[in-house]
Amino acid sequence: MKDWRFWIVFAVLTVVQIILCNFLDLSRYAVLSILPVLILMLPLRLGNVPMMLISFALGFAVDFFSTGMLGLTAAALVPVGLARNSLVYALFGDELGPREGELTLTWFGVPKFALATLILCSIYFLVYVVADAAGTYGFWAGALRFLISTALSTPVCLGIARILRPE
């Protein structure tokens, strides 16, 4: 039952991300994305390969339905999918064994969760900003875009995590 709820909220949030991509234009230096946390919150039983496939499909869907470029979000999200399991075991490894449940913000605490979200957002925006710029930005303009987008998206992702698995 809980799984069904998760997947429905997951689908709704994907639609929300598509709407954000289409209608939210903050600045050329600010991109808001909740996709890293959607990947982070996926069931822990999924291995690396399913994680990457889901990440690719999710990125492709967002690209397809938004005004962005096809492949851009998918290219940025696949590394997030690959890094998710390693990151989760590195940060929460000791606590995962006895718990045998899913990731929730309240169980694992805000600091570790924030760190995990920050790392995944950084991976996502690193690839996203570089691929989107296509060599047309200077280093500092790209770095500014990366920092603002990561700083903006990380707290939003923390809020989304609570919505995905409220517990």
Binding site: V49, M52, L53, F56, M69, L70, G71, A74, A75, T136
Partner: protein
């Protein structure tokens, strides 16, 4: 999980990751012109790096062969360099010749002094050009600002000449551009000192006048600057001579020009 299986899982994960990234980038490549150019450029850089690396490895293993080729080339360049050095010497001599504004009625051949006697009153010069190079006896040996001597005898490759520091050599000289013409000779006073003889006593020859070749000679070209006067001396109350300090110390001369007057025989025949 067994270790072997873990390795294969890792490889499969990496392969799928690469495939998915390639798929995403391919889509990006075809969906945007900007990204298309960027990815093409990236691809070209990777190709250049890869092929450059392969080429470096090939070059490394081909070093022995390259060394052999370089050694051969080195030898060829050495020979070529010697040839150009020789040419440069000739050109330097010819350039000095041009700057001297020498008249065209003489033929000029650059040469290098290979030996020079300086210890007697009958000194000699040997130069590295001979009859094969067109040198004939009786030619002048000069530099753009001095007279060095005259050719006395020639071999095929070398010539023997009498130095200006030889009492048998007389040069017709002019004091100033329009002054009197008098004979100039070496009196054993030094390697950069000569004297002008037969100076009429009523003439005042100030010190510092430039002395030139007069041109009244079938051997020496005219208007070669030789030196400056140092004042008139009277010998035995009857003969005046003027000391001249040469512009060039004869013993330090290395490159010379042999000036040959092709009309010399004609002039000699006329003056008999």
């Amino acid at each position: 999980m067994p270790k072997g299986r873990t390795v294969w899982t890792g490889i499969a994960t990496a392969a799928i990751f690469i495939l998915l990234e390639i798929a995403a980038l391919s889509m990006l490549h075809s969906s945007s012109a900007l990204q298309n150019i960027w990815l093409n450029r990236f691809s070209h850089n990777v190709m250049a790096l890869t092929w450059g690396g392969v080429e470096k490895v090939k070059n490394y293993f081909g070093l022995r062969e390259q060394n052999d080729i370089l050694a051969g080339r080195n030898y060829e360049l050495f020979k070529e360099l010697q040839h150009y050095k020789e040419l440069e010497r000739t050109l330097t001599a010819m350039a000095k010749l041009d700057s001297a504004n020498l008249p065209p009625r003489f033929n000029y051949i650059p040469a290098e002094i290979t030996a020079m006697g300086t210890n007697s009153r009958h000194n000699y010069i040997i130069i590295d050009k001979g009859s094969n190079d067109g040198i004939v006896p009786g030619s002048a040996i000069i530099t753009p600002n001095s007279v060095v001597g005259m050719v006395y005898a020639v071999d095929k490759r070398y010539s023997y000449g009498l130095s200006l520091m030889n009492e048998r050599v007389n040069v017709s000289a002019r004091i100033g551009r329009e002054g009197i013409v008098v004979p100039m000779r070496w009196d054993g006073g030094g390697t950069n000192k000569v004297v002008l003889g037969d100076i009429p006593l009523h003439l005042d020859i100030p010190a510092g006048d430039t002395v030139w070749t007069s041109g009244k000679s079938k051997v020496f070209p005219p208007d070669i600057p030789l030196g400056v006067t140092e004042g008139l001396r009277v010998i035995d109350g009857a003969v005046g001579i003027v000391d001249v300090k040469l512009f060039v110390d004869l013993t330090s001369t290395r490159y010379v020009i042999v000036a040959e007057n092709p009309d010399r025989e004609t002039i000699e025949n006329l003056s008999r």
